[in-house]
Symmetry: C2
Subunit: 252 residues, 2 copies
């Protein structure tokens, strides 16, 4: 597999196109419902763009990097092909793509924001296909991009996607709440960055259980009460209480 | 200020002793209620240990690195001195130390676990003292350990301590929940580590608001429902719902 059509023009599409080109794959075309977005992305790499399904070119691989809700519809629109059609979603089963085609999944387990550079060669990818042959082809294809490629079925992919929401989406929310308190109280959020860095770095040497510190771990109700007293937002107060209780319970 | 007596023998004490010795301060003695813990720590550096308050030696600085609840009691026990008595707590006011002595605070804003090495020279320290003279002395003292020293009063210190709980304690809990799901479903937690690393690394280039990705940000109720369906623990289900709602609200 050498030639690729990318369907979608968001964060994931933009990073995958970059990774494909870095690894000498030929991205023939970008398809996107909003043409201007496909054109903007295509211009960066000299790739043609279209929003017309009948114009979608022949390729070895059709990479759908759209919203989850659009996968089925986009897959339907691809003109008849011998190529493989894969989506990139953690939460959608392989069967989200219509049957009767060679279908598969390439799921990059990473938080991808436009404009944020990231190394692709140690990014974990989980792949799935319907036949052993296609699975092997996908493995070889992705292996050129990253040395971390594993085969995972749709059910387990949803579960690791859910775990990813906890470790990334929710911890990033915690960073945001920390920043909010800093801004409100004229404190330097910069001072929290070494702490954030160390929070992640600790896991190279110990488990999250061992890494835990702080008042809730020590069941230090005095400090917890003091903190609750200075949290004004009722939602955040509730979250603080709930998370503290969980930590205390785990370390009891 | 050159000579120090450290009171306490836990995580914070152990790291501060190391930082002091690395920066050529003389740690004369470790005082701790449980003598064996003080001795164990003292042996690493050839420092004498005691659990008898009347034996506490004279020093320029008495560094109380105990639990918050023990600070007042330990400060009371220190034999009459011209030296400064400081505690290291984020949540306790300077006045937790009895009046009538030169009192202060040296608060290291970091997650410190025993046995986990960390660079002290860019660790943020917040200091407080009662006189400008003592403040300057403390500043000079800590500045030798780290280039990130700021003066902060007790009220603001509690607030940054609270923000630290969010960015560290609570995000570490998110990592732990992620690990738990991996173990339960025989998925490799290792695969989540690049994601965790990138979650922290993103903040070097963008704000947590800009860094946010995932279903809750996109208000993708389908995926949220799928995830909730596979979370069995009712506490975690509640946390997932609450945090997703918060993210969706922020990005609405």
């Amino acid at each position: 597999m050498q030639t690729v059509v990318v369907l979608g023009a968001g964060n994931v599409a933009s990073h995958l196109i970059k990774a494909l080109i870095q690894n000498t794959y030929q991205v023939k075309q970008i398809y996107n419902r909003t043409l201007s977005k496909a054109e903007e992305l295509g211009e960066l790499y000299g790739i043609s763009a279209t929003n017309t399904a009948s114009e979608i070119e022949k390729a070895d691989l059709y990479l759908i990097a759209s919203s989850d809700q659009a996968i089925a519809e986009i897959a339907e629109k691809i003109p008849e092909t011998d190529g493989m059609i894969v989506h990139t979603s953690g939460a959608m089963p392989l069967t989200e793509i219509k049957s009767g085609v060679r279908r598969g999944v390439i799921y990059p387990l990473q938080t991808l924001s436009k404009g944020k550079n990231i190394a692709y060669d140690d990014m974990p990818f989980f792949i799935e296909a319907e036949t052993a042959e296609d699975e092997a082809l996908l493995h070889t294809f992705v292996r050129k991009i990253s040395h971390k490629v594993d085969i995972l079925d749709s059910e387990k992919r949803l579960k690791i996607h859910m775990a990813a929401v906890w470790v990334n989406n929710f911890s990033n929310l915690m960073f945001q709440v920390g920043e909010k308190f800093c801004i409100e109280n004229e404190l330097p959020f910069e001072s929290l960055k070494p702490l954030i860095k160390e929070t992640a770095a600790k896991l190279e040497e110990m488990s999250p259980y061992e890494a835990q510190t702080g008042p809730a771990k020590r069941a230090d109700q005095e400090t917890i009460k003091k903190h609750l007293k200075i949290i004004k937002d009722p939602d955040l107060k509730k979250v603080y209480e709930l998370l503290s209780q969980l930590i205390t319970k785990i370390h009891a």
